[in-house]
Symmetry: D2
Subunit: 349 residues, 4 copies
């Protein structure tokens, strides 16, 4: 198979809503780079934000055109100078955060908060294309037992793993606010890691059904009744040991924090619409909570965990992948995601 | 020395501002209790809140009259049935939080967040008196090298130890917002634990001078200029590794959080006036901060640390104890504290 | 049901091998104590050591006669002065380590290594009897979904939980040396906590079959071939992330330590026959291993975890309880245990 | 200053004892490399082992000739292709462990136990020369307040930092077995990090005097009397919270382990002469100790800590650097080290 000179790609061409599916040149790998032929790519909430040209996208994406997408699985097409260990045909995915390697964070083992981070599909051309250029240090070899349509989920699953495992959950009560794909992934990881009972809350009944199918012990719709009643009843009045906030809803956080048992733990992954007002005294300080902000993935410890849990079947992503489209049907995909009546959406490329 | 039948005590007699210094009966120790002759007691911000009858006090102190005060040092006068190991004359202080021993928290090694906590001087008669009854399990034997006027500070120093040492600070940049007695104690503990540089901010110049005398490397008045300039300059643009929020000022927290380096740590000890609005995305989540609510002390690990650091001279409380009064001069003490022109105020009893 | 004045009990009457099943007085609960009617008790390796009067028993058990046994489940018969919350009929088990509460360890949150520890069935009368006296602070209320014959296993399961969860095992390769009841419990806990693959080694084929039935991914008999070949093959040459040494065999530890990946973790629970010779340079220091000695259980954090994992079905003890006897058949039980052709042996009392 | 074509270097030319001081070519930096003009280099115990051609050296150093030495400070002379941020004249030291970057350990944040580690001065030409080639990723910029003769000590100080700070030492009793340069560095770090009391033991009185000068609270010669008496007396019978084993003497470890308080911590840095026989039951398992093998340094978290503690004066290396020689006097240096009557020996190059 010869590498073609052009490829189809989903491109943000200019400021404003929408994306364009068009023919663009296939890039060539420079020193330390690999060219990957994309097989599957999956759609993240961030992609919707870029599609809709929400403020975050507008602020962040100053250089256009830009090929979007940052979750994928594919095979090595070719590599640039100095890259070894990745012969053509090697099945790979990639860490989507490109680290600088020289800032204080990178030099102290915290590359996931690199001060000069560049993000695939945002600050560099992304994976919604037939080919993508990736720094070789960001490559991850896919396990033979993980098919490409699942392997593309390793990137967001990494966030879920870091969210859940910020502290041990074995034998613990876990409350997850938000049952979008990230919340459902946190549910799957919590169960795989031996959580005692996982409660999932979301105002979207479709998603609550998904949560039940994926093993949630209790699902709650906060629009139907306040969480506090069922949560406190279930936990004998103690509240949950662990709160995983994935919704990015300040109302959800407000409602959930009082339900964390004193001395418990909170992980924050959801991105909020603006500032969040908190009762720090009652909800954090007097209760001696530990609160972890979560972002990115620990490369590559987290990837090892994800790959193992997927390849062993400890994580089952089958119920989560509710829809698959060819990438050319991207408009249907983004429309569907807007309805909230889907789990994870995966593209064939 | 015979135990008298009455004693002088500082009593909140009825709802409303003020305290009464009056003669009350000396209590008798029941089973598992000890009667302690108080030598020194020190004044906490909570005592001012009770004196001024602020909303927290009004909500919490429903049973009056109540003898106030919860920081003290004294000697065992007598003990009740079943108490061994504390012969009369033994020099003691006491953990001021009385644990129930049977709630989920107490049964899982987190007594400092006991669900049925009773606080000395708030829910039970306190230490601003010639004698105090204490559960024997709360007693702490004072080290011979720590005089009573310093030993009374062990209780608040415990909060400072837990605030500072929630994670290791050795070789780290530390920013402390708030230079009241608690902030200054955190400064002393940070320096003793090998912090690289400690920056202290407070709008009160008197307190900044105290901070300098106690070893602060940089003192900043946020009313004179924003913290960000000098903090970022000093830290080569990286920001501090550790933020200790002691002021209870939401403005201070708002100003300080962006100055924490990505991947850094925050301890929250200060009590806020109400809800606090936070930029959780930028200041916590994208920066992957770890935030610890701090309350109480770990009995008695924390007390061991405090006692050792004091008795060895690693902590020097001399500059902090700026004023000493006989307890009968309590009104002068509370008035002085209102001015902010003092460090820690200690009573002779 | 009236409490009888005498009961049958399994007693070590005098130095030397063997136990006597005989009629003894039923004790009465003093202040802070509870009398429990035993329903089931299970047999620990320590009981065999006492039965056989091995050196450890001879050194330790200086006061005879002594009722043996320290794993049980039963119901509250009556309680002594000051004990509340345990009405007659309450289903309970108990932490078998009686803490002093006043040593350096007890006062710093490490009661499981109390300096004046007294052990049920060794230093105080035990559970191989129709009734047992227990300090009320040691009581644990059994979950309604855990039957007594399983609830008696909570005590040793606690050791397994602390052994496995000394650090997180989710997504990790685990090697367990020793497939006696403790090793098999560690296997069950590892799987429940999301270990990636668990390898179990033991020279006893009967036990390896049990291990397979309980979910071991790989079972190895070190007498058939060295562990290193299959372990390194399975782990792509990296070795295991976690070693749990349960056998107390220095040969096993010697063989297993080199198979731990550099930067990995070891928990030591097995008790060795004497001194153990280690290649500390190659096997621990140059590999930067973390080695945890494990003993007792963290009361009651560990008990919460055990109770939850059992009541939810995350731990299934059915395959492990291979034999049940009436306590009067104790000689058969000890004989069986000597053959190694059993899992856990449970007494009806 | 032009770079000369030849330089003087201390070379292991062929198997067997001794080193040769001779003229060799100055290497040229390839891609990703830097050439550093060495100003100071310090002598490690490993260098003595190489000088004396002990078994470890013979086994490990199969490619000769080899320039020795791995602790140094100097200035950038020139850099190869792709190296930025290090203009000529930049003052630097370097991490002496060259990581492969692709093994399981390197990919999971544990480069200090890289499976394909190459060590400066052992597997690659070292720092006992006028110039040294170093991979640019291993470079460390020296703080302006740390002179070169002290900056060369950052490498071994890194080991000391990781040894001491494997867990927090603030307010803790610390016992250090071995008062050679590494033990003394651990002493300095322990004091800087707020250890309560540091006990140092060594059979060499010269070194004990150094330890006293560097702030040891108690120094003990195990040849004069057993450690247990004074250690248990000083610690009220509890033993020490922390043991740092630096001597590599199995007798020292045997004597010290029983002196660690139950629930305490041990760091092992010293390299032993062979296998070590341990009472694992009594000394590790029943006491629930945590034992950390220590090797290398965490690049570059540890370097940050070291640089800060040195530049602030929290660590004072003045008493430790007892002798300085021009590198041409290397035979005197190695002879002196053999006598044990020295602290750290530093070369001018």
């Amino acid at each position: 198979m010869t590498t073609p000179s052009t490829m189809m790609a989903l491109v943000k061409e200019s400021p404003g809503p929408g994306l364009t599916y068009k023919d663009v040149p296939v890039p060539e790998p420079g020193a330390g780079e690999a060219l990957v032929r994309v097989v599957n790519a999956s759609v993240c909430g961030t992609d919707s934000i870029i599609y809709d040209w929400e403020p975050w996208a507008e602020r962040r994406m100053t250089t256009l055109p830009r090929i979007t997408g940052h979750e994928f699985a594919g095979v090595i097409e070719s590599v640039g100078h100095g890259v070894t260990g990745y012969p053509p045909g090697t099945r790979v995915s990639a860490e989507s955060h490109y680290f600088c390697g020289s800032c204080y964070q990178c030099r102290t083992g915290r590359r996931e908060v690199c001060r000069s981070m560049r993000i695939m599909g945002v600050d560099a051309d992304g994976a919604f294309a037939q080919f993508i250029l990736v720094p070789a240090v960001n490559l991850w070899k896919n396990h033979p037992d993980i098919p490409d349509r699942v392997a593309t989920l390793q990137e967001p699953l990494g966030n879920a793993v870091d969210t859940v495992l910020a502290e041990d959950v074995t034998g613990k009560w876990v409350l997850i606010t938000g049952a979008g794909p990230m919340g459902l992934m946190c549910l799957a990881v919590s169960k795989a890691a031996g959580a005692y009972r996982v409660i999932v809350s979301d105002p979207n009944e479709y998603r609550l059904e998904l949560a039940e199918r994926m093993g949630a012990d209790i699902v709650l719709n906060p629009n139907v009744m306040p969480l506090s009643g069922p949560v406190l009843t279930a936990t004998s009045g103690n509240g949950v040991d662990v709160l995983l906030e994935i919704s990015g809803s300040s109302a959800a956080l407000h409602e959930a924090l009082p339900l964390v048992t004193p001395g418990g733990r909170v992980s924050l992954l959801g991105i909020f619409g603006g500032e969040v007002s908190l009762r720090l005294n009652e909800d954090v300080i007097f209760k001696k909570l530990r609160v972890y902000g979560i972002t990115g993935r620990i490369a590559f410890s987290t990837w090892h965990t994800v790959s193992r849990l997927l390849s062993s079947g400890q994580l089952d992503m089958a119920p989560l992948i509710t829809h698959e489209f060819h990438i050319s049907d991207y408009e249907k995909a983004f429309e569907l995601m807007r309805t909230g009546r889907c789990g994870k959406v995966v593209f064939g490329v």
